[in-house]
Symmetry: D2
Subunit: 350 residues, 4 copies
Amino acid sequence: MTYLCTERMEVIMVFVLKPGVPREKIDRFIRKIEADGFSTILSTGTEHTVVCLIGNTAKVDVDFIAQTNDIVEYGRRVTEPYKAVNRAVHPDDTLVRVGNVVIGEGFFRVISGPCSVESEEQIIEVARSVKKSGAALLRGGAFKPRTSPYSFQGLNETGIKLLLAAKKESGMPVVTEIMNQTQLPLFEEVDLIQVGARNMQNFDLLREVGRCKKPVLLKRGFSNTVEEFLMSAEYIVSEGNPQVILCERGIRTFETMTRNTLDLSAVPLLKQKSHLPVIVDPSHAAGVRRLVPALSRAAVAVGADGLMIESHNNPAEALCDGAQSLDLSQFSLLMDDIRRRVSFEGKLMS
Amino acid sequence: MTYLCTERMEVIMVFVLKPGVPREKIDRFIRKIEADGFSTILSTGTEHTVVCLIGNTAKVDVDFIAQTNDIVEYGRRVTEPYKAVNRAVHPDDTLVRVGNVVIGEGFFRVISGPCSVESEEQIIEVARSVKKSGAALLRGGAFKPRTSPYSFQGLNETGIKLLLAAKKESGMPVVTEIMNQTQLPLFEEVDLIQVGARNMQNFDLLREVGRCKKPVLLKRGFSNTVEEFLMSAEYIVSEGNPQVILCERGIRTFETMTRNTLDLSAVPLLKQKSHLPVIVDPSHAAGVRRLVPALSRAAVAVGADGLMIESHNNPAEALCDGAQSLDLSQFSLLMDDIRRRVSFEGKLMS
Amino acid sequence: MTYLCTERMEVIMVFVLKPGVPREKIDRFIRKIEADGFSTILSTGTEHTVVCLIGNTAKVDVDFIAQTNDIVEYGRRVTEPYKAVNRAVHPDDTLVRVGNVVIGEGFFRVISGPCSVESEEQIIEVARSVKKSGAALLRGGAFKPRTSPYSFQGLNETGIKLLLAAKKESGMPVVTEIMNQTQLPLFEEVDLIQVGARNMQNFDLLREVGRCKKPVLLKRGFSNTVEEFLMSAEYIVSEGNPQVILCERGIRTFETMTRNTLDLSAVPLLKQKSHLPVIVDPSHAAGVRRLVPALSRAAVAVGADGLMIESHNNPAEALCDGAQSLDLSQFSLLMDDIRRRVSFEGKLMS
Amino acid sequence: MTYLCTERMEVIMVFVLKPGVPREKIDRFIRKIEADGFSTILSTGTEHTVVCLIGNTAKVDVDFIAQTNDIVEYGRRVTEPYKAVNRAVHPDDTLVRVGNVVIGEGFFRVISGPCSVESEEQIIEVARSVKKSGAALLRGGAFKPRTSPYSFQGLNETGIKLLLAAKKESGMPVVTEIMNQTQLPLFEEVDLIQVGARNMQNFDLLREVGRCKKPVLLKRGFSNTVEEFLMSAEYIVSEGNPQVILCERGIRTFETMTRNTLDLSAVPLLKQKSHLPVIVDPSHAAGVRRLVPALSRAAVAVGADGLMIESHNNPAEALCDGAQSLDLSQFSLLMDDIRRRVSFEGKLMS
């Protein structure tokens, strides 16, 4: 499909066509609109075909167009500030392909692995184990954003290399976090680029990953609204990269018993307002291992398309975030539970 | 069981006894402790028997007592500021009886009805319908706390009477909100007294309902922490009323797409730290009808003991909170879904 | 002046009259409006005279009325949900009289005293000292809202008596907190009734103090917006009690170095939107003594009409909130500084 | 002075020496410590001399060292996670030199200018005017972080050039925001590099500006705690750049009448815990022009070292943030008021 990327898209109108309309009728409709001085974008999904009208629409009667063109199912103005990620513009669910794994509506994928890649043995042991337990993707941090300059900052380039070794060994696609755009060349063989919560409004980085051909995992900033989250996704998609997965990971509130407050309402909201896949990270939200299973179950039920769960072969000695990591057998047990639930929801897991 | 209510309980120690210990051994253990100058409280649940030691425990070695008394399974100091509601003091789940309905672990109960009682026809129509759909309790506001003095403030005494008429008609136990302790005489036939979010720290009201024999539904204040919530329950229980149900209903955050942010992490936290039942109110949290089904599903999965869902025979004309109320057929459909899920969790619903 | 109290006041229009208009012209203007089927309220301040038009104003052209009646300076619709506390309805600053002390624009008053009344010696020692330092009112808690039922809850009735003894001894008017409306008879000789932050939305209590003839000090709830704060004041004023003083005391945020975050922006906002006096409580906001002087200086500069500062003759042994109380000599030093600053602002302090 | 930059500094001890100790005694003290296997750092300020002991200090008695070495005034462990920015390590106030302007304790500096550089005429007109009104530095955005990809993003390189033209024309040092480290070469002639609120935890950017020789203006993230703010400053200073100015600009809360809630308590907290200068940006905090004067007055009184105020020659037509910008005559009036207040505080302004 075609995505939009223009200053003028701030005023757009969307016409969803009836199913099975022949292409020549669509072309005639588009020519008619363009003859009135508007630009158009044709977006062809598997279930819906949409024609977007772009321009000064102040005097255009959207209902009149819808009613007088029998190929149109319905029309509406897109008043939200996000356009390319808006479900109105693209009614079909977006499916993102990461290596051989499809992420999006109808599927449920679990990403797992340690907060930080620490050694070849560690990451390979974790990879083998979480794969066996049913994880679809392997995560592992190489560049770590840490509040203190004196905390462990990740293995950097070496971390990426070890993660890729684990990818080769396990056959799993891998995801790891980028901290600035100068690191992009190191991400050539990484399957899914993570933009972390603290970088959700690092707009220059968003633009750069928007120019990549790689899928992007965008985490919600811990103090950003759902609308700001969608606007950050818009930065990526409007640059031409529609392969974006959204990840809710908890927001900062006054509550102190959890590290952050997991905002599960954001999942149905995001799925309603956007066509992008939405996953949930209960580990960072809770900050304590004990809450991860219950929050994972809730994420399946609330309609998420997947989970990102921290696991470690030895949480007690993890260099980072050990308190929230499951050990490998806890993860395996949780996956057995999740598998039953995903099947209850009628979704595919593997 | 006996609940604690003393200034000195701020330093207490808890000994959970092994199963099946004969009463005379327990008495001997208690006499020994008391001989050392401590007070004790014996709490006998269906599964666990607990002896609490109260007094200046600074020099007491809890492990030594546990190891040298073979009837003791384990001992621990209760360092949390909440005692009577603490699961350490009372390891068994509390089951609260509201009319003929049991609320607590192993069950899943749905409370439904309108924000406000508006007329006899309305409340009776809603009562019959939600009962048929599977609701266990009927809610309906008579005294309404409203931000503006110019908004509809409820039918007051008349509202209570109409609610009781609907109780009689439908046979369902009823719950309604109290706004100050002078209203208590009006609640004689009300089955469950609700203390609303804005009154969660109205300590005088908490004390008064703590002196009642009636079960209390305590809603979390929209800006109160989980610990403050438990401390407010402690006010009620420490006055001698152990029949308290906790209700998570969303907290105030920076997010604006929902009225509040439903904090589902609070459910497993509360269940872990306390023995009281915990239910969830997705209607007030979301503030929009559309999110209620997904959040209800998540509440079942996260381990809640029930739901409180606003329903109305004509939401478009409701005098209060219409935007978040389900109509009666939406509620019925949601209940079909919830019933399947409760059964999946291995809990009883009706 | 007359205050408004009617359901229909939700749609009102306000006409501020030119200075010095003779009464008979005003009466003619009012008769003309009433002839068109509207109710009116005449509000006569020392500087401004205002006529409020109440009724279905949908088809009324406010500018037309203003332009065609030469006694009118300007007219505007009051769209805010608060009316009686709205500066549009009452352009003059309200001055509240507490005993012999006037509080409001042009003055700067400091209220001081301990968190809790603990003994006759304590409250009298503090009263004498803070009076000498320049405090205008004496505070002292008798009924204390405490998160824990096991914390010191105040001396209750005895506390009130001791406070009144200190009033007699020192000649200072006194302020103390009410926790529920059944306590009102005990407040007969209290000069200023405080409604605390946790009771800001205890609407039944607001209504009751609105029916008193006594001035009320209303503290902002720690999680309430400025608009909600004004709506709670509206509850009091619309019941007929215009003697309300607003108090900003910090809001709950994610910051942990202070107990709450003092929201000084609320002061100019409240003064702009309302005619009521606004004071600041830096002690409860900060929760640490060390920040009180700097925040007090900022409160003077930002335009507050006074301060409420906790002081104690022996903060280290205070039964409540000792960490945030100044000792009597710290308070005296701070008052010297504040006096210089109040004089710089051109306001009167004593 | 020397700043610290080592992994091991997480456990350090600080000895503040008595005034006027001769260098040879200091050297002897240092040799003695180093003979025990510790590293040391000598930090010589204008008023205080400090010796830091670095290493495994678990068994070191800080008081014993202080008492047995008569050149030591006092010693303490630095338990805070921030070290180089900690006032314990560096008791003297840091003064930052920006061009010919000194910023820090004892001075009060106002930075002003438009949100965005829009044209040569605009920025030069503003520069001349704010200089005349008493501003010490000129601000003007060239790279603008915007929530929406469709909003004006700044003039970029051209913006920097126009700002430098205004610098030349007016003789004022200039400050502008950097969005990523690849832009650093463009900041060669910029006097003060601003790291914006959204980049406060862009740790790679912090490290890079820490390797510059230029002063840095670090704005607090709108959802970051004071401790996180200091840790971000630590990233810069620990890389070797001690020239950091902190800027409080409002935090995200539930309040909606202001864009953010200005946290003025942060000013005395930051000044107490750190030796770095602290300024306040009331324009971004409030988001509305009308509150800027009152908040500016409060900032002077609370102890800030300066202000950053948005001004524009034509706010109504500003491409960005017009609603919060003062026009040039409003700014001039405000500066007259501020000048009086700065003089009242005994600080220097120009």
